[in-house]
Symmetry: C2
Subunit: 595 residues, 2 copies
Amino acid sequence: MTYQAPVKEMMFVMKHLAGLSQVASLPPFAQAGIDAQTAESILNESAKFAEEVVAPLNWKGDQQPSYLKDGHVVTTPGFKEAFDQYVAAGWQGITHAEEFGGQGLPKLISTPCQEMINSANLSFSLCPMLTEGAIEALTVAASEDIKNRFIPNMVSGKWTGTMNLTEPQAGSDLALVRTRAEPVGDGTYKIFGTKIYITYGDHDYTENIIHLVLARTPNGPEGVKGISLFVVPKFLVNDNGQIGQRNDVHCISLEHKLGIKASPTAVLQYGDHGGAIGYLVGEENNGLAYMFIMMNAARFGVGMQGIALADRAYQKAVSYAKERIQSRDLAGSTGPVAIIHHPDVKRMLMTMRAYVEGARSLAYVGIAALDASENTTDEKTRHENHAFYEFLVPIIKGFSTEMSVLVTSLGVQIHGGMGFIEETGAAQHYRDARILPIYEGTTAIQANDLVGRKTLRDGGAVAQAICKQIERTEHELARSDTEAAKVMLEKLSMARHALENVIMHVITNTKSDIKAVFAGSVPYLQICGLTLGGWQMARALLVARQHLNDDPDFYQAKISTAQFYAQHLLTQVPGIASAIIEGGAVANALTAEQF
Amino acid sequence: MTYQAPVKEMMFVMKHLAGLSQVASLPPFAQAGIDAQTAESILNESAKFAEEVVAPLNWKGDQQPSYLKDGHVVTTPGFKEAFDQYVAAGWQGITHAEEFGGQGLPKLISTPCQEMINSANLSFSLCPMLTEGAIEALTVAASEDIKNRFIPNMVSGKWTGTMNLTEPQAGSDLALVRTRAEPVGDGTYKIFGTKIYITYGDHDYTENIIHLVLARTPNGPEGVKGISLFVVPKFLVNDNGQIGQRNDVHCISLEHKLGIKASPTAVLQYGDHGGAIGYLVGEENNGLAYMFIMMNAARFGVGMQGIALADRAYQKAVSYAKERIQSRDLAGSTGPVAIIHHPDVKRMLMTMRAYVEGARSLAYVGIAALDASENTTDEKTRHENHAFYEFLVPIIKGFSTEMSVLVTSLGVQIHGGMGFIEETGAAQHYRDARILPIYEGTTAIQANDLVGRKTLRDGGAVAQAICKQIERTEHELARSDTEAAKVMLEKLSMARHALENVIMHVITNTKSDIKAVFAGSVPYLQICGLTLGGWQMARALLVARQHLNDDPDFYQAKISTAQFYAQHLLTQVPGIASAIIEGGAVANALTAEQF
């Protein structure tokens, strides 16, 4: 088997760290009778599908990428059939409202399922992920007519969705978007322009594709305040819900990429034959706000991709390390042993494992907060959980994807020379991972969000509240007398103090030296990820200690992994914090000409 | 221009850090009248060749890899012609003895030339690099007859050389080598076996290829003590020096690799048609020792490849960051600006720059020590310089290559979405870099060497002597009252103390808990690299301060880069040191089954 979904580990995190029972007790889920048993059944079903149907296609997708033929995208053989099965089993709609044909499950349950599909086949999973974001945006912002026309067929998986933001001159900077939307007079618009990097911008899985497109109406304000959001279907949809005429949006080329090669990355040309018909979503000039809804979901989703890919690379490395016989055991052996017995291989595997477990725990805890905020009637609970989730999104995205680059690189390293040979497959994960810190907002964009909207805007209130929560976990650790708990207490406390200093630095110095502070934005995101991941590992350690006798192998491994996280990862935090606090000015010291 | 050799920077390091004038004053070089002027002329010639002839082929090599056709390797169009020019200009032989047709230049002068060719085109440069190693091994270990038969045509570049160590079951563990060498009775041997991962194991550049092959003679001891070294030419060489009959060594396949695709990586089959004729190098069963001569040269060479590739990626990123217009300046601007003005882009560029400058300085200082040890009559000077160089080799190899993976990854990141598109070229550097921490001994193998042969064997004497030298630089820093010197003093001193603690930990605890200590071997190598690179940056800072008025832009940039190194890179050291000292046991805590 090329991939085995870590259902036991996922259930541990859901139950003991992310509060599955509290999520299940939220009104809509309680009414539906959802419990831990439901969750485990769904995860097992999802695991079966990911392992048996989707994972075996991953390597093929790399070898036979999607390509453009006569203006149509031809995807990797087998992918359409797998997508059909995905749709038939109802996976696309598991979290969506029942009124649109969804199953209304908590996101805490759909997230591990997403993780599995991502681990199994990143290129495949992008199509549902983008559709997910499009459904989110339409659900929140579109008129009833648009919702009814498009959402049910997207929830069912009959049609897919895309996000059209980027243009050649407008990447991270959406103020530079030039695509035009001209009102026709009948309520519709004609769209003209070129969009690039459109994931699954064209494909042959489904009969229709629903593009969400950022464009400018005439006379709108300049910059991001003049951007509106439009729905532009590949085929128009008649009032009776049937597919109508072909719309004027065409895929004119596909990118030749480093990785995720089965996923077609399209250049879409709008309006070369008279104008593509588009429908305004919500109000004019408010497009960026709607797109942010979609982006938040997508950013969390990309964070999960990082975790998923890192786990896949980890599993592959473990399997190789157990098989490959090379050199004697340092402590003595009669002959050569499996390389997993060599300390540096173990250190690399533990590093991979600790990153994956820490990042996964943080992500699941985050998504549980979103469930809570979306399904509670208590305003305070809603607000607190929403603020917590919003703070976490750039961290989950930025930290988990950066670590996936590192972890997939370690995966190659453990394979030695074999890792550099494409047929081994370790290199594919390394190539695939490299897009993750870039798309849906680079790590710098996430870090800008973390510093600007998430830390400065509320004067550090949420950031500091999280540090207080970490402190409470430290108090719990202090009540334990195990070696692992003591080590964790020391390192977590050290990291949390360093993080608090950085938060204070950000709040205090942005006005006086904004460039020095923002030179530390990505490192700030990094220590947030390290510290908050460590916090979750500390919580896991405490739970594992309590349950140790139930399953000694599993819980002892959890305790050791937490301790490893403390001693090898949390120890990075103070050094990075000092670089942020002291090294902001020097990072900006050279003029452009001096480079 | 796709690559511009940093001749000014190289000359700075050679003159002010690596002691070019001392090297030039060593007897053989002084006799030849070599001076800084000579060095600069050679570097300028080399730069012209690398920039104009070799660099333009780099992308083509990635797109049109070498391939096997009817048992022969066909290389990328243009590469043979470039190699012919390389040979015609005499570059292969610049450091070799004049008796074999070389130019007898110091390695301190050839090293920057090597760096340039590596930066220009890693795949191309591998052929000369392997030939270099083969010449070294033959020069030291072979009989006069073998030397005279093979070396002159290798020094001239008429023939190339290879290293044949790896077999499918024997990668890092050469004890498992199975290739057999059966004595024929006339002094020659017949070689039988399969060797894999043979760089330039076959190609169409030259009329002959000289393979150095590890194999076992009958009745030799088991393990590495029974390995002998043989010369096995592709075509036999007659006594008159002319090419004779085809030898029984054949390329049976080429690997499909993640990077360095123009460089053919061959599976070589020896003896399927009666036995390949081989000549013993030196004495039987002493092959590993001879191979180590070759490996030391090759390891240093691979370290230089890391530096070279990182510099190439840095140059590309700088150029893109100056061109790409996106978003306003955080400090205010009337419109969008080049992204080099954004603090996180600058931080990434400074990180790349600081790593490259630190690693280059350390490597040049190292190779100057080799020049000194090889060209002095004073035994103490010879010994000290040799021990210093030997200590540095695993660090230069391991640290520079690991950093090249990081730096080329930052190079992709700075390009944003464009970085993931193959045509941009940033991804090629990222792919190419990934082999560097693997071949010629993985980072773990380097770290084993650093801990075992270089630290434990002499009880830490050389390691501690280097720390004393660093302390002397700290005293010099203390005499300066500039901000940058103060910062550097604080961080360098902190890093050096942490390193000393780790050295003491290694010496003290290896006997009692070898696995815990070796779990810290790669991190130990890493902090050696960070600290020793920082030491060189500190020395550079002091020199730059003295010369500031001669060239303010250059020297101020050097001071700022050194300060950045101190605040952003040296600050990593204490955290890693604590992971080594405290986290060795936990790294080994899980059994194989628990993974």
